[in-house]
């Protein structure tokens, strides 16, 4: 603790930085609860008085917000589950099996991270539209279903398994598949949940891909829904802020509940030296 700032100064800096960082989120929340009348009063209005819940009802009436929300939940959950299932299987093979072409295949998976998403997004879009998959959940989910990041992190984590564990399991007549699902998965649940959170957050917030492959309002995700709502009803602050708050909610919950796993997953492999 000897390297610390004096308490009051440290607290002051943190309060200032914390308020700056939290500002857009807090502002959205406060405005979402403010009546239009109060919003247009002179001077800057901060605290909603009285609390005006009607903005939320209004937001739901203006656009099918719950439908967008459900679409996003479905798409992000499907992507997350597929990334885990596909990633666990692949990472398991790379960590425990010996086979021809193993390092070449692992390199192939790793190298895919070198190709920036923005440089292949158009080609994927034309493929999807040629295959007549526009406005389908398949188009939203499938391209993100395998994550090289997840495979890499899981493999690193699986490699820490002591070899004896596998020997003991196979002596007990445990098949590889059972060894994976009954032992490796539970033992590595910390890294698996990190990957799940990161996968969910990134697919929840994804913007460009759903913008390209959805035209139909029925398939629109909440990110596209919110920006279209903003384009159409740009003057109705309260309801739009209510929609923003609803959009931000899952991320806030994940950060609040799973901060430790999230942070360890993101920092894994990034700290050098």
């Amino acid at each position: 603790m000897r390297q610390a700032l004096p308490m009051h100064r440290s607290l002051l800096f943190n309060l200032v930085a914390g308020l700056l960082i939290a500002f857009p989120v807090l502002y959205a929340l406060l405005m979402s609860l403010m009546s239009p009348a109060q919003m247009y009063e002179t001077g800057i209005q901060w605290i909603p008085a009285p609390i005006h819940w009607a903005n939320y009802a209004e937001a739901l009436r203006m656009v099918p917000l719950l439908h967008f929300f459900a679409n996003s939940v479905f798409v992000s959950a499907a992507i997350t589950l597929l990334q885990l299932a596909i990633g666990i299987a692949a990472a398991f093979a790379f960590a425990f099996f010996r086979f021809r072409g193993k390092s070449a295949l692992f390199y192939l998976i790793l190298s895919s991270m070198m190709i920036p998403a923005q440089s292949i997004v158009l080609a994927n879009f034309t493929t999807i539209s040629r295959l007549d998959l526009m406005d389908t959940y398949l188009a939203l989910i499938l391209p993100a279903a395998a994550s090289a990041f997840t495979i890499f992190n899981l493999r690193q984590s699986f490699m820490h398994q002591p070899a004896e564990l596998r020997e003991a399991a196979s002596m007990d007549g445990c098949t590889d598949f059972k060894f994976m699902t009954r032992i490796v998965v539970p033992v590595n649940r910390a890294m698996i949940s990190s990957c799940a959170m990161i996968g969910f957050i990134f697919s929840w917030n994804d913007y460009l891909w759903p913008l390209l492959v959805t035209n139909d309002e029925k398939k629109r995700t909440i990110q596209i829904g919110i920006s279209m709502m903003h384009d159409t009803y740009s003057t109705t602050y309260g309801p739009i802020m209510a929609a923003v708050t609803i959009t931000l909610l899952p991320s806030i919950v994940i950060v609040y509940m799973g901060q430790k796993q999230l942070v360890s997953g993101l920092a894994a492999g990034a700290v050098k030296g």
């Binding site: 857009p24 192939l108 923005q118 495979i151 917030n205 460009l208 959009t247 950060v255 030296g273």
Partner: protein, 290 residues
């Protein structure tokens, strides 16, 4: 004996069964579009982005002779430099602030982690209200009358600000982890030499995290090149293309102007730039021993 044999031939293909879904999906949605982008960048394309006929280097020549391309590169460069500097400085500062592990600081840690997890589009919507020329908070607070998002100078600053706000968070997470790894005794040694708090951060913390910092410069540049949602929501690349960085320009050329060939050429260009940056990083990491 028989079952053993069966087991062996099964064991031979088993690993491939486990990795097949991952490999197939990455081939289909990363490598195939990558090859397709290369091919189409050398082709005349239909308004829907399909192949019409070979066109040699003509997409590239029209890209490289266009003055707009260089304007766009300059915009991308300014944006990326500002975003990476801003978000590294802010991220490092936030990491220092909570590095002391005082009780009750969890709330600050949560707040600093939040931006990386929230949607750029939704946050951009919030900022568009804050920056609104007539009843936006910023004009009201400053007593000014600036049309932030419609002035080339301020629009860029606004988009940079939103992106810094968001990207600083990931830097914070990784730099905090790196700070935990700095040798404690170095701080004590600096203290013996009479160094105060800020001097210790300058002389011990900063060199201690510099390998990570270097890695983050590369990551931040790559992330900055690919900013999209906040630009789409706040400025749509305008006014007068002043905020149209390369990733946004690819989108505009292809989907708004139906110049797919040009957009594919820019996609390849983006890939080459990012590859070059990553190569530099590998090279430097090998060369410099920390």
């Amino acid at each position: 004996m028989r079952s053993r044999k069966l087991g062996n031939s099964g064991a031979l293909i088993k690993p491939y069964v486990y990795i097949a879904p991952a490999v197939l999906l990455l081939l289909l949605f990363v490598y195939y579009p990558f090859a397709k982008t290369m091919v189409l960048s050398l082709s005349l394309t239909s308004p829907a982005g399909g192949f019409v006929k070979w066109n040699g280097m003509s997409n590239y020549t029209s890209m490289f002779v266009s003055p707009d391309f260089y304007d766009m590169l300059l915009v991308t460069f300014k944006f990326s430099i500002a975003v990476l500097t801003g978000s590294l400085v802010a991220g490092f500062f936030m990491a220092l602030l909570v590095n002391s592990d005082r009780r009750g600081y969890t709330i600050f840690k949560t707040v600093y982690t939040l931006p990386m997890a929230v949607s750029s589009a939704a946050i951009a919507v919030v900022f568009s209200f804050v920056l609104h020329p007539v009843n936006g908070l910023l004009n009201e607070a400053l007593g000014t009358d600036i049309n932030w998002l419609n002035s080339p100078k301020w629009a860029m600053a606004a988009v940079i600000m939103v992106t810094v706000w968001q990207n600083a968070s990931l830097n914070y997470i990784i730099l905090l982890a790196a700070l935990k790894g700095v040798d404690r005794s170095l701080y004590e040694a600096a203290e013996v030499d009479g160094a105060g708090y800020w001097k210790k951060q300058w002389m011990v913390s900063l060199p201690g995290v510099s390998p990570t910092l270097f890695f983050l410069v590369i990551v931040n540049a790559i992330v900055a090149f690919q900013a999209f949602a906040q630009i789409h929501v706040l400025t749509a690349g305008g006014p007068y293309n002043s905020t149209g960085i390369i990733s946004y320009n690819i989108y505009l050329d292809a989907l708004r102007k139906s110049h797919f060939g040009l957009a594919y050429a820019q996609s390849v260009f983006l890939f080459v730039v990012i590859l070059a940056i990553t190569r530099i990083q590998f090279y430097m990491e090998k060369k410099v021993s920390y």
